[in-house]
């Protein structure tokens, strides 16, 4: 209780000063959370995929006829060439070529139409990376209908058992479909990886799973459904066990250079992050600038707040308070304000991300955001408190102790 009483004496009497400190800190937390979000999402997705997909990330390669990331579009329209996959598969050292494709589709359902993205997997893909379905969600497929599994989010519009028709890319004849399950894990893809429970990203997985209920196990190749739709022959290529990965990668790259590029999956994921970062560069620079302003503003405020209280520290020193306790008290006081600001910041971040910076897909900044804001705070707090107490001690000595002579 005595410590709280002394802490109360250190508090500035002006409400505005305390409010300013709280607002500065809250902004710092918000900006740092927003800044950390893309990195956090990348790490989360990678973690999720590594947990759900039994593929050696460091050895797997991604083949693409486009430049090595989607935003660098190919000069020609993507078109499926079976010989590309044959060449990849026939190369010595290749264990498997996992094909998949991602498209969008118009779905006629009830009285209305919906736009969805969907992924098709080859039989081989599904054998290596089986989709995990939510337990108890599966039903039997029907002949003449494409069995589809949907994400948690998509299941709100398309619950299990729903029959509907889908037009891939809005072209060709409508494909009759039946929802037979809900995806419970991550959704693997050669072009992209999406967490299955994303609320904003409705996704239909057309699976070629080895699950016996899924009738269309070879959906990718079935001309009855998708013959007319052109597609990008992106694929994941896995090495055979025991193969020298770098040598295999190099020779495979040379052989398939005429068709496209090979990159490691890890590198590809990193590139995805870099693309996200570069697409939002101006916003990020603004965030960094604002974060720096918040950090330095907070640091300067702390520094000045101790300088302003130099006389109080001198009085406490005369009353017998040690320097260590003064430092601890000052830290404790500011830590209390920070915890309040951190709470406010974490509550306000989703709102700020959506309304202030138009970030559509903000996911909660997790441990990384907390570590980053906490680290920034502690660094600023320690540096400015130590500096200000040293300065404050000098100022106190001049203004109070040495006034006599």
């Amino acid at each position: 209780m005595n410590t709280l009483r002394i802490m109360n004496k250190l508090r500035s009497r002006g409400f505005l000063r305390e409010f300013f400190l709280l607002a500065t800190l809250t902004l710092m937390v918000i900006f740092t959370n927003i800044l950390m979000e893309p990195l956090e999402t990348y790490l989360d997705t990678k973690r999720e995929l590594e947990r759900d997909i039994p593929v050696d990330f460091d050895a797997a390669l991604r083949f693409s006829p486009t430049a090595w990331y989607l935003w660098e579009m190919p000069e020609a329209e993507p078109e499926y060439h079976p010989e590309i996959h044959e060449a990849l598969r026939a190369h010595p050292g290749t264990g498997a070529v996992l094909e998949s494709r991602q498209e969008s589709a118009h779905c006629a359902l009830g009285g209305g139409t919906y736009n969805f993205d969907f992924i098709l997997y080859s039989r081989e893909y599904a054998r290596y990376m089986p989709l995990k379905l939510r337990e108890g969600s599966e039903i039997q497929g029907e002949e003449g209908r494409l069995s589809v599994v949907v994400t948690e989010a998509a299941s709100r519009s398309l619950p299990v058992g729903t029959r509907f028709e889908m037009c891939p890319n809005g072209e060709g004849a409508p494909v009759p479909c039946l929802v037979v399950g809900i995806i419970g894990g991550a959704i693997p893809g050669a072009d992209t990886h999406q967490p299955s429970d994303s609320a904003e990203f409705d996704l239909i997985g057309l699976t070629a799973s080895n699950h016996p209920d899924f009738a269309l196990v070879a959906a990718v190749y079935d001309p009855a459904f998708f013959d007319e739709v052109p597609w990008d022959p992106a694929a994941l290529v896995l090495p055979e066990e025991g193969v020298d990965v770098s040598a295999w990668w190099e020779s495979l790259g040379q052989e398939t250079a005429q068709w496209g590029q090979l990159r490691s999956l890890t590198e590809y994921e990193r590139a995805a992050l870099e693309t996200t970062l570069s697409e939002n560069l101006s916003e990020e620079l603004n965030f960094i600038l604002l974060s720096l302003i918040a950090v330095f503003g907070y640091g300067a405020y702390l520094f000045l707040s101790v300088r302003v209280r130099a006389r109080k520290f001198a009085v406490l020193s005369v009353a017998g308070m040690t320097r260590g306790r003064m430092f601890a008290l000052n830290m404790g006081f500011n830590l209390g304000i920070y915890l309040l600001a951190a709470g406010l910041g974490w509550i306000l971040t989703p709102w700020a991300a959506k309304c202030l910076v138009q970030m559509d897909r903000y996911r909660s900044a997790g441990v990384l955001g907390a570590l980053c804001t906490g680290g920034l705070f502690l660094m600023t707090l320690l540096m400015s408190t130590a500096a200000s107490l040293v300065q404050g001690r000098r100022a106190a000595a001049i203004t109070l102790y040495r006034k006599g002579d």
Binding site: R13, V315, V318, G320, T322, L400, Y401, K403, D405
Partner: protein, 224 residues
């Protein structure tokens, strides 16, 4: 002996252009119950001497013992403990927290020392009573006159039954009437056994102390 200073010197910014030799070879012995004044012009080293005695500053060389404690080697914690319990300090500008009441200010060393709120308040009221300012207990320090503030500062310095009271220019901000009243108070405290060292450049104040020293350019000399 309560205080023993042997060949104490204090130099600020040694080796720089701004070097100031505030104390030079000071020897001083103070017994319990002494009432000593230290006089000298501004910049002569009075305050430096008192700050060293209070443990707020450290000598550059020489030895300083407070009873058996070697103050030149004592930790900040030990010196602070002495200031809380045995050495009371009164400063020229009072050194009070203006937004707090007189009672709160007198409670401060007790609060810092971890004394319970109830005991601290009781003790503070007792000291204010002894100083004749019990009626000021609930008043904010900013609303008090200079003389009243200095009495509150003295009350705070003595809130823990200090053995030694160090008063650095305690009358510097007071008129003659308040100066007299404060010196009366200090004399009465000294009669009750408190050791007092007062720094001043006011000859009237100096004459009230039985033992007087002068200080000039950091050199301390006994006058009577």
């Amino acid at each position: 002996m309560l205080i023993t200073l042997k060949d104490v010197s204090k130099t600020y910014d040694p080796g720089r252009e701004t070097e100031v030799r505030a104390l030079r070879g000071v020897d001083l012995e103070v017994k319990e119950g002494d009432f000593i004044s230290v006089t000298g012009p501004s910049g002569s080293g009075k305050s430096t001497l008192l700050h060293i005695l209070a443990g707020l500053d450290t000598p550059t060389s020489g030895a300083y013992f407070f009873e058996n404690t070697d103050m030149t080697r004592a930790s900040d914690r030990a010196k602070c403990a002495l200031r809380r319990r045995q050495i009371g300090v009164v400063l020229q500008d009072f050194g009070l927290l203006g937004d707090d009441t007189a009672l709160e200010n007198v409670c401060l060393p007790l609060t810092v020392d971890g004394v319970s709120r109830k005991k601290a308040v009781a003790r503070a009221r007792e000291v204010l009573e002894r100083m004749g300012i019990a009626d000021l207990a609930g008043k904010k320090v900013n609303a008090l006159s200079g003389g009243q503030r200095q009495r509150v500062a003295a009350a705070r310095a003595l809130s823990q039954n200090a053995k030694l009271l160090l008063a650095d220019e305690p009358t510097g901000a007071l008129d003659s009437q308040n100066t007299e009243a404060l010196m009366d108070l200090l004399e009465s405290l000294n009669r009750s056994g408190l050791t007092i060292i007062v720094s001043t450049h006011n000859p009237t104040v100096s004459l009230r102390a039985p033992v007087s020293y002068s200080i000039m350019d950091g050199v301390l000399k006994r006058e009577r």
